[in-house]
Every structure is written in structure tokens, then in C-alpha cells.
């Protein structure tokens, strides 16, 4: 490859855990830095870049008008745009905001001063501008991030697995949560995290977004067997996936 590609990292509303996840890769990070030229990375760098980016890596959801303008500008300046982390790819936990009327939730947190805050319903980055690569997960699974980065550098596309987390979970030989009497969102959630949460004894919360053709009715039937309030189930499904609804319009 000619000169090393210029890569910039940006963040919007999020916890910045995903960029930390990248920073946490240890010395492997230096291998990555050997393959690319990081020109902007706000969390750890003061340097700035005024030309176009070969690759923009974007984290976080779009939650106010300012952000809409900013992401549009980033898109214009970038050849390739990677959205990483659930906030960016599917709206993630920020989407829970959309469960409430905007006015109401602003007041509930900021009371009188609510009017100072410009806010719009939470959008995933891909719901505002075109995204070339998606790395879902809250936080991202570093091996997948590296995989996608390599695809971007090679100029080939990456498809987020469209099969359930259960596939990886079974391959890891976990005891299924349903056998333990617990519900789990694995069956409707896209794989690619190597069933991270279940390997560690927790259930799947659906942070990677739903498979393209989930059997929602079937899943509700399954969960309903456990005598749980349907609202709670709905809440659970919406924890990361609320922004899906914006697509339907």
C-alpha cells in the first residue's frame, strides 16, 4: 500500500468505552498503529488534521442537532466511515431515551434548566449518514474490531454475522440460560461477540442488534413461559434496540 491510510477517531454521545477498548489492546495496538496513521483521536491526542480522512472511526449516537451537522461534515471528509459500538451502530442504550417524550425526560433530569439542552430522538449514525462498516457491541469485541479494520484497509466489505448469538454460545458449550430458567436475548441477537456475556455467566442483553429476520413473536412466546411481565420483556428488548423503530418510518 502507498502511504499509510490516515485514520481518525470521533465520538458522539456515548461512554467512550469503545475507544478505550481499542486503547486496551496493549502492545497489539502498536501493530495496528504500524499499519495506519492515526491523525485524530481526541481521547488520547491533541493533534488535529485538516485534510480528508481515509478512514473515520465513529463512536456514539446522534442525539442533538449539533451532532447531526458534525457527523455530516465528517462523512463529507471521509472516504470510508466505520461506525463502532452499539451507540453508533444501532443507537444502543442511548435509544432508551426514545421510550419517553423528549420534553418529559429533559425536565426529569434537569428540571428548570431543561431548556438549555438541545436534544432530538436518539439516532444511530447509520440513520443519519451512510456507514460503510459496522462493528456492533457494547463495548466492541476487539477481535471483531481488528477484523473490520483489516477489511477496511483491504477495501473489502465486512458483514456482521446474521445468525444468533446462540450459535457461538453453543460452540462455546455454555449451559443455556433457558435451561437454567432464565431468559436470554441470544436467539434474536446477532452473533460476533463469541457469546461474551454468556461465557461469563450472564445473559445476552441484545447489545449487538437484532438479526435481520428475528422471530419476535416466537421469542415472546418463549419468554412468556417464564411468567414475566410483558412490559419488562419489551423493556429488555428495547434496552439496545429501541432505535430500530426509527427505520420503520
Amino acid at each position: 500500500m502507498s502511504p499509510k491510510p490516515k485514520v481518525a477517531f470521533f465520538d458522539f454521545a456515548c461512554c467512550e468505552g469503545c475507544q478505550l477498548q481499542v486503547a486496551n489492546m496493549g502492545e497489539e495496538l502498536l501493530d495496528i498503529l504500524g499499519a495506519i496513521d492515526v491523525v485524530e483521536f481526541r481521547e488520547v491526542m491533541s493533534e488535529k488534521w485538516d485534510q480528508n480522512y481515509d478512514v473515520a472511526v465513529v463512536e456514539g449516537s446522534i442525539t442533538d442537532n449539533h451532532a447531526v451537522e458534525r457527523i455530516k461534515k465528517i462523512r463529507e471528509r471521509s472516504k470510508v466511515l466505520i461506525a463502532y459500538g452499539s451507540c453508533a451502530t444501532i443507537g444502543g442504550v442511548n435509544g432508551m431515551k426514545n421510550n419517553f417524550p423528549l420534553e418529559e425526560i429533559r425536565k426529569s433530569v434537569y428540571g428548570e434548566s431543561a431548556k438549555f439542552f438541545d436534544t432530538i430522538p436518539t439516532h444511530a449514525v447509520g440513520q443519519v449518514v451512510k456507514v460503510d462498516y459496522f462493528v456492533t457491541g457494547c463495548p466492541v469485541y476487539p477481535p471483531e474490531f481488528v477484523k473490520v479494520l483489516k477489511c477496511a484497509l483491504m477495501g473489502i466489505n465486512y458483514e456482521v454475522p446474521d445468525y444468533a448469538v446462540c450459535v457461538e454460545c453453543k460452540l462455546n458449550e455454555n449451559v443455556c440460560m433457558y435451561e437454567r430458567g432464565l431468559t436470554c436475548l441470544g436467539p434474536v441477537t446477532r452473533a460476533g461477540c463469541n457469546s461474551w456475556c454468556i461465557n461469563n455467566g450472564n445473559i445476552c442483553y441484545g447489545c449487538r442488534g437484532m438479526v435481520s429476520n428475528p422471530n419476535i413473536k416466537g421469542a415472546q412466546d418463549v419468554i412468556a413461559r417464564y411468567n414475566i411481565d410483558m412490559d419488562l420483556v419489551q423493556n429488555k428488548m428495547n434496552m439496545y434496540n429501541k432505535c430500530r423503530e426509527l427505520n420503520k418510518k
Binding site: 499499519a35 445468525y163 444468533a164 450459535v167 453453543k170 460452540l171 458449550e173 441470544g186 413473536k217 418463549v222
Partner: protein, 345 residues
């Protein structure tokens, strides 16, 4: 054919000695009545009365994930076909799982032969273990005629109270019993006890579904249009668990993984499932089994018809894993029963 006995007192000793010389895998309790084949060093780590493991022993023959080609941009000289293999002893394999291994053997030794599978197969020693009772209500091993030992192992153990009756089936097995001198010759009374057990089993292990398995292919072809398939489709979440845990499912996917230098890399394969979205999709967007009902139907037909047509062997062992694992409670035995009722009408 050689028959031996191993007294229960010596069993622990046997396993410890075996584990000193070999990599031994045995059924280990993972909690919640789930088991898994895991490396073991002592008999105490194993649970011999176990419900079929989450994943069958096929993982030792075709690992969930394996790389089989290392190559780079220069193509020719640096390309290496590789296989990761290790000599293993599998202890305590149930007859249903042995039947599963036999089914896989056929697929991978059918020409053209898959040497990744075959070289691993060569490295595995199989020590079977008889089920004296049903593991649970999901099993249908009697219907599939897999509840009794029928070859496919090196040694076979039957628990007869104070001792194990040990059938030495191959030279490989014989080498092991010779190198670990804890076995005694089987005498007439031992054979008698074995026959006693088999007679008891003949009474308890009866066809669970009430269909002679030879008839299943016909029943399936005649109920192709049945609404039962749609019912399964409505319930199924397409999670793929039923196929991933099945001892005879062998589908896989292939892709390339490059290293960060973008110059070297490998080609890998990972288990795939006919239940997954995209499994049968071709360029142009057409998917040959877009409906979940069609995928479920494919699964049943593959087990009970297609593979029978191709290899004259059923690709269901009756282990019950698919039903046990399905959170949508799609049950193989129940489904077959329903199909039969419909067929009879």
C-alpha cells in the same frame, strides 16, 4: 474378540494411569444437569451417569473452528495445508454418540476424502460406555436402534455393579488394556450378568415414538405439505442450537483471515447451520429456504430421508439433544409422532 472385566475398585486407578499416558477426555458436569467432554486427570472429575453432553464428541473430530490452509500473497511456495491434531482418548462415549461419529466418518471419507477429519479420526481412541437406563424423556435411541453397542469403538465398558464388562474391539484398544494391567478375564458369570442387563434393557428400551425407523422416510415424503412444518416455523427462532448440538450435523462455512500485515493469513472453517439466515442464499438474493418452516423441514428430511437415500444410514442417533436444547420446545419425538398421526389419517 476379547472380553475383560475391570473391578470397580480399580477403576480410579485405571483412569489415573490412563491419564498419565494419554490425553483423556471424559464427561464432566457443568451444572444444571448439563455435561461436557473435558480433559480429565482422575475418575472423580467425571460423571458417568450423564445426559448427553451439550456438544457431542464430534468437536474432537471436526473442531468448532479450525484453520486448514495457511497462505499468503505469493500463492505457491508459502502455502501450507495444515491440520491441528492431538492424540486423544475419549472415555465414556454413549452408544448414540458412537453412532454419530460413524455417520460423520461416512461423510468425510466419502470421496473426495477430507484429510483434516481423517487424520484427526486416526488420533482418537474411543472408549464407549453403555447406558443401562434412559438418560431422559428426550432420547429416542431405541427407535433408532442405537441403545446397544454395535462397533465403532476401541473399547466398550458396561457397568454391571461391582465391575465393568469391557469389550476389546480393536487392536488399538488391546494395546491399552495390555499396557495398563488392571483388567481380568471375563468369566461365564460375567457374561451372564451382561446378558441379564441386555434382557432388562430389551424391556425398558422400547421404541419411543412408535414408528419403525425404516418407515420414517416414507412418512416424511407423504407429509411434505403438512401444516406441522408451518407450526414449527412459527415457533422456531432459527437460533441453530438444534444443529450445533447434533452429533451428525457437519455443515461448515469457510472464510479467510488475514494478519495485520495484510500479506499473510489463513483459511478457516467454522460450523454452520442450515437454520441460519443466509445459509442457502445465493448471489442475486434468492434464498432457497427463506422460510423458517422450510429450514426445519430440511433438518428433519436430512436426518431421516436425504442421508438415508444417499448413504443408506439414518443421520439421527436418537440422542435427543436437539429437543433438549430447543428453547422453543420443538421436540423431535413429538414431531415425528404428529407426522405419523397425520400420515395414518
Amino acid at each position: 474378540m476379547k472380553n475383560l472385566i475391570l473391578s470397580k475398585e480399580r477403576f480410579e486407578h485405571f483412569i489415573s494411569l490412563l491419564a498419565k499416558k494419554h490425553n483423556v477426555m471424559g464427561p464432566v458436569h457443568k451444572g444444571y444437569d448439563n455435561f461436557s467432554f473435558q480433559p480429565i486427570k482422575t475418575a472423580a472429575e467425571m460423571t458417568l451417569k450423564y445426559v448427553p453432553t451439550i456438544i457431542p464428541p464430534k468437536k474432537y473430530f471436526m473442531p468448532q473452528y479450525e484453520s486448514f490452509l495457511e497462505y499468503d500473497k505469493t500463492w505457491g511456495e508459502n502455502m501450507k495445508a495444515v491440520v491441528e491434531s492431538e492424540a486423544l482418548v475419549l472415555f465414556g462415549v454413549h452408544t448414540c454418540d458412537i453412532a454419530g461419529i460413524k455417520a460423520l466418518n461416512i461423510v468425510f471419507s466419502d470421496r473426495p476424502r477430507d484429510y483434516n477429519y481423517l487424520s484427526r479420526k486416526k488420533d482418537v481412541t474411543i472408549m464407549g460406555l453403555e447406558c443401562n437406563e434412559y438418560c431422559d424423556e428426550f432420547a429416542s435411541c431405541a427407535m433408532m436402534n442405537n441403545h446397544l453397542p454395535d462397533g465403532g469403538y476401541d473399547l466398550f465398558f458396561t457397568d454391571l455393579g461391582d465391575f465393568f464388562f469391557v469389550e476389546v474391539s480393536t487392536l488399538k484398544g488391546d494395546v491399552i488394556v495390555e499396557e495398563i494391567p488392571v483388567f481380568e478375564e471375563a468369566l461365564g458369570r460375567h457374561f451372564k450378568e451382561l446378558q441379564g442387563l441386555r434382557a432388562r434393557k430389551a424391556k425398558t428400551f422400547t421404541n419411543e415414538v412408535g414408528i419403525e425407523y425404516q418407515h420414517v422416510p416414507k412418512i416424511l415424503s407423504d407429509t411434505k405439505e403438512s401444516l406441522i412444518w408451518n407450526e414449527l416455523g412459527d415457533k422456531c427462532l432459527a437460533c441453530g442450537n438444534c444443529t450445533n448440538v447434533c452429533p451428525t450435523c457437519y455443515c461448515f462455512n469457510i472464510w479467510d483471515e488475514v494478519n495485520l500485515d495484510l500479506k499473510t493469513g489463513k483459511r478457516v472453517r467454522m460450523w454452520d447451520s442450515c437454520q441460519n439466515e443466509g445459509y442457502a442464499k445465493v448471489a442475486g438474493g434468492e434464498s432457497f429456504r427463506e422460510e423458517r418452516s422450510a429450514r426445519q423441514k430440511h433438518r428433519f428430511f436430512k436426518k431421516f430421508k436425504y442421508m438415508v437415500d444417499r448413504y443408506a444410514r439414518f443421520f439421527c442417533t436418537g440422542c435427543g439433544r436437539c429437543s433438549r436444547t430447543c428453547m422453543a420446545q420443538i421436540n423431535l419425538k413429538e414431531t415425528l409422532k404428529k407426522l405419523k398421526e397425520e400420515y395414518a389419517r
